[in-house]
Symmetry: C2
Subunit: 336 residues, 2 copies
């Protein structure tokens, strides 16, 4: 195994993918910081909108390693962390190298600009995967470069762009992903399949989705609530794809507060939303595949159940493969 | 993500698992070398019996990073590399830390002792996962410790022991693994499923297996040769599990030189072998599961085919998850 720029960018990519689907409306981003002497000081990712960006998470972790000062752990607001680092960095980061899957932001939004922070820490080199096409936030590379930091961009750009695609899509239109849970032998029936951790992750994704799409049969048979109770989260709006309106409206799904439920036989309302998760089986997979950007599957290492997808042949490209305590978590793109 | 001893041992583990099934009669071992200043200098694994041990592969890679001297690349014999390192190390490794999933060997077999080599390079610390229970090779920790190197062992020992289990088993008895290839939707029918790279890997595994077990129906229907032609390798002996002897003996399987083919309705002959691969579908899975130690599946990100495993419910623990250019490669252990 060659230990090179791609090795470190791959670490950043893998860390970032763990939070794909959870960062909306922000992009999933990963960051690695290497000390002047070559030591990995931090490997972090952006976890959720409102929490610090990946670079700030990584600088915070690296600061603790370098300074031994854990007071920074008490700070949760990104602005506080920025200020604390600017006041206390003590040139610890001198000649460090930062890898980030995305050009650092240059705008002051929920947090101060990462590019400005990086430009004030005597960093030697910034290695960037994707360029930010977000007009408001972009220009970070220029800010950093103007401060004398060497910049290299385009390292593993294709892979970083794949990580970033959801962000690009929901900025200009919408991002749609299809999520399903299955056993190793492909079955999707017979009640709960995924681990508790996987199901909690799905609830966290629902919490930041603005629309959740489900098939009519699932609603009739499973009578799901489709909220985000496992993370005390917000329940997304629901589109039930069905030709008829024959649902038992007394099930909890229909009485969640602050939620719209639409029943329709088409996807027209998708245009009103930005971050859309479709949950379903083979029928919905087939019906939705032309509007879906990415597919996400949780594979439990089980054999059992009876029924799996019956759909036309498909080929996917694996974008990221991860594992929680039990299940495989795999993001994929359909190959046409 | 915390960058600690477990992080580096996990890197060594993942690298080693890539060669699981290929190192017989040696164990799969991974090694990471960290410089005095904390930089990852090398991440390597033992790839095949006769090639250098993981520690030697890693020291060779680290030497190139530290010295810039690429002449060592011309050396392929482990003994040559040992000698070259001892003559030219120039104290480059002073105060380095070595992570290895298994205690370094202390005996001189196909290669000189890794423990002796490590003990002469001014290494500061050796961090070990599993202790070697091989009576001939063990004692490496003592050799290294006697030379003044600090030793810590038991880091991720459970995971390192899982990596090492095949070696332990074939030393005292035999190791049996069941390999199958499937699509994402669980199907195993309809011709070639795995990528060219996955199939080449399976041939490399056949090359070092001493027995390959296959079901009678597979032989009747697929008429396979079951050799290791993709790697110009040795064809293993074959056990065809079948109650009847009604095979077309003109198919190539029966005429491969230097190969025994046994037809039997039981597994009695397994006792004569050490490293045994079973290839099959659901029927063979069910029939063999009580003699199988590990399961290995290649999952192609495809939907298609018609038939998958029809067997009783099973639960696995994932031991390692990897990906080649297309397929998922997953080692698992049945949970009883």
């Amino acid at each position: 195994m060659v230990i090179d720029e791609n090795f470190y960018m791959r670490l950043a990519l893998n860390e970032a993918w763990k939070y794909q689907g959870l960062t909306y409306p922000n992009p999933a981003v990963g960051c690695v910081i290497i000390s002047k002497s070559g030591e990995i000081l931090a490997l972090e990712a952006h976890k959720r909108a409102g929490l610090p960006h990946a670079e700030v998470e990584a600088l915070k972790s690296a600061y603790i390693v370098l300074s031994g000062d854990k007071k920074i752990l008490e700070l949760t607001e990104s602005a506080q962390i920025h200020n604390y680092l600017l006041e206390n960095h003590n040139d610890y980061f001198k000649d460090a190298t930062i890898y980030t899957t995305l050009e650092p932001c240059s705008h002051i939004g929920k947090t101060p600009s990462c590019a400005t922070l990086i430009s004030k820490l005597n960093i030697k080199k910034l290695i960037v995967g994707s360029l930010d096409s977000n007009e408001i936030a972009s220009g970070g590379n220029k800010v950093v470069n103007d401060a004398g930091v060497e910049i290299k961009y385009g390292v593993m750009q294709k892979e970083c762009d794949e990580l970033l695609l959801p962000f690009w899509l929901w900025q200009k239109d919408k991002f749609v992903f299809f999520k399903w849970a299955q056993r190793l032998n492909g079955t999707v029936d017979g009640g709960i399949i995924s681990s508790s951790k996987s199901r909690t992750k799905v609830h966290a994704m629902r919490d930041v989705c603005d629309l959740l799409v489900i098939g009519g049969n699932s609603v009739r048979v499973d009578r799901p609530t489709l909220d985000a109770r496992l993370v005390n989260g917000r329940a997304p709006d629901i589109l039930i794809v069905s030709k008829s309106d024959d649902f038992d409206k007394t099930i909890p799904l229909f009485s969640v507060k602050n939620r719209d439920v639409v029943i329709s036989d088409n996807f027209d309302i998708l245009k009103n939303y930005k971050n859309i998760m479709i949950e379903g089986g083979g029928g919905m997979f087939e019906y939705s595949k032309d509007v879906v950007n990415y597919h996400l599957t949780f594979i439990s290492p089980l054999i059992g159940g009876d029924d799996g997808f019956t759909c036309s042949s498909e080929k996917f490209k694996i974008l990221n493969l991860d594992q929680d305590e039990q299940d495989i978590i795999m993001w994929m793109k359909r190959e046409l």
